[in-house]
Symmetry: C3
Subunit: 142 residues, 3 copies
């Protein structure tokens, strides 16, 4: 899909808990809906969360949640009409220009190969390559 | 108040612990002091922290703090001259162009209504609307 | 070293766990390798991590890691050829235009003086001063 010359959004996704993955997905979806180009760079726990055999599972909540917040998130997941962030992100990738890559260094650190990752991950790259593609964009770390 | 044409600051406030709320407030106050327009978008635990009956309470510290760091924060709160981040933020809103909105999706998720929120929250909006107002600004996720 | 007129990178380093400090270092090193100017502003636990007598120690992992992730990080540290983030950051400062300052407010809060900090920290400044030097750059909060 063609994108306008609006400012791109570049997102370093470091965190791997469902609340932050939800927040990241909302941001990516919003930018994609605005025809903005979106680059997502997966590092550490964010990368781990995209492993094929883990992506659709429960990833818990950040420490901010507390026990009460975790209970809320659990209930939200069981509500009718609830959509998992991974499905929302796949959809954003279909309607918009969303490019997801994995950090080569994190892949090495965790011993993860491209085949271990969900197919929505487009490839593996180093931070310099990511920064080049992120030039002029809004850069966010989650 | 008139703002200059300096770059705006847009802040997605996701976290709800006092250390991160302090850091966010310092950033907002600094930008406001520079006559920069500031947009704050409250999500998840950041939104929860702005509930009328919770905002002035103790919100704990992020996991980074450790027991020792939490003790430091507790002592800092009891020091003479200490100002709660909520008061600092209200002041920043009086002297500067600070616009605080709540994320519509998070409001739904937590069952929070506009009436539940501290009056310094100006309204409720979706992420697309927030991103439009954030165009061309420095975008930060805390 | 001369830097090109590429967009600068400004990094507020709030977090103090080794996984986030690693991620921050990768980002700084990548930007420095691209001849981009880099400003790092140390706050809270990020500042604490740069104390002379703590910087080379184990700073643990963020809550995202979980016990399994923490074990992975521990093993990664013991691998041959592993370089501590502090050493990588020192190297980035030698090859690139990396400027590290400590947040004056956080220094006060923790009772830290300039002498307590690792020599790679160039100075102490307030948030307004940091924001001025960060104008026009990509601003990231870690």
């Amino acid at each position: 899909m063609e994108t306008t010359d609006q400012q791109a959004l570049s997102l370093i996704l470091f965190s791997g808990t469902d609340d932050k993955l939800n927040a990241a997905t909302v941001l990516v979806s919003g930018a994609a809906a605005l025809d903005r180009r979106v680059n997502v760079f997966l590092q550490y726990w964010g990368l781990e969360a995209f492993e094929k055999d883990r992506i659709d599972k429960d990833h818990g909540a950040s420490a901010d949640a507390g026990p009460e917040g975790q209970e809320w998130l659990r209930k939200a997941r069981e509500m009718p009409g609830h959509q998992h962030w991974a499905d929302t992100l796949r959809l954003a990738g279909e309607i918009g220009d969303v490019h997801i890559t994995a950090c080569a260094l994190s892949m090495d650190l965790f011993g993860i190969t491209k085949e271990d990752l969900d197919p929505m991950v487009d490839g593996v790259e180093g931070v310099v390559s990511f920064l080049l593609s992120a030039e002029g964009s809004q850069l966010v770390f989650i």
